[in-house]
Symmetry: C2
Subunit: 220 residues, 2 copies
């Protein structure tokens, strides 16, 4: 049985106790991947930002709010995992300052300086041991392949899964799986559950078994 | 039977197709108020930002994303309602510019200019006819009473309901109901369902019946 880390959902970067920057990631693909991993007899370990969905009861789930928390939790857990799938959409900017009390409106333009948050997958990719694998997701609204391959390299990922912005929060999805050379390994279309299952089958055959992690795989 | 408008949930103000500014309003208090209104034999009309909860099937529900959309929908519906409860937490700042494509990270500080969005309740309060009433909610992290009374005046509200930031997304809540003179009409504590029921009983006795809207009230 392999242990597989999934980062899932959005993260939030608060400006003050009420307002925050985020995105519409629902955690549904992370949940569908956890189900596919369980169905294949492996152990999913989910690090998730705030979502309204329920992950499978048999999954290990660590809840976080910010990108920094997601990185800290994932780094610790990845060390004990065979591989990971980064399907979270961590908020990639945070306000330079956090205001302890809710900022009152004053009729003026608010100039908000934002700085980049740490890149969770790039940090985990840098930690990756030769026996481990990493599959990243990329959401792009233009120049999808080119940008996705740039991400694959920066994150030291084995594969990158490309989807469009319509994937966020939708029940149906369309994914393209690219390997390290940019070759399209698969185009998967269907519900998140269907595409998650097909994607994990591919991962199991091509990455997990190739790395020998299936030695004590439990058939269910 | 009275028609009562409820604004509920958060709104979102997008920076680009993926990232947005928002808050953690869940829509649960709006949902609980719609249930209380139905239970009392009246018709709730809900204008809601993006939420994961389901409003009661008998409620009329209009879904919106941005604060501007919430204002437009509410203004049209309020004209045909006896009164309204503003429990939404509309995002009160928006980026000056919306980027059509996802903004790529470049390692630099992002100086994001934000401007205030329209004040939904102040606009509706300005439209309010003498026969109509308006109950606002205020979420404050400091100087609660003073700020709440400032809001009551700016929004031309009959009452303002004060709660702390812990109310957002929590199941239990603690509310203080202030009238136009700042007198505390009630302190309500319990689940959102319990406090919503108690709040609506107070509204029904003191605002709805005072304004004669219960003439054809249907007992259920």
């Amino acid at each position: 049985m392999a242990r597989i880390l999934i980062t899932s959902g959005p993260t939030r970067q608060y400006l003050d106790p009420v307002r925050y920057l985020t995105n519409a990631s629902s955690g549904r693909m992370g949940c569908a991947l956890a189900e596919a991993i369980l169905a294949a007899g492996h152990q999913p370990v989910v690090v998730s930002g705030p979502v309204e969905i329920d992950y499978p009861a048999q999954a290990e789930v660590v809840s976080v709010v910010t990108t920094e928390e997601m990185l800290d939790a994932s780094r610790e857990l990845f060390a004990e995992c065979d591989g990971m799938i980064g399907v979270a959409a961590p908020c990639d900017y945070r306000p330079v300052e956090f205001a302890e009390h809710k900022i009152a409106k004053n009729g003026q333009t608010w100039h908000l300086p934002l700085v980049e948050t740490p890149d969770v997958l790039a940090a985990l990719g840098a930690d990756k041991k030769p026996s481990q694998w990493l599959v990243a997701f990329a959401l792009e609204t233009q120049n999808g392949h080119e940008r996705a391959m740039g991400k694959l390299r920066r994150k030291n990922a084995n594969w990158i899964v490309l989807n469009g912005p319509e994937a966020i929060c939708e029940q149906r999805t369309c994914l393209e799986v690219l390997d390290g050379e940019g070759a399209v390994l698969a185009r998967l279309e269907g519900t998140k559950r269907e595409t998650a299952r097909a994607l994990f089958e591919l991962i199991e055959t091509r990455l997990l078994q190739a790395n020998g992690s299936d030695v004590d795989r439990v058939e269910v």
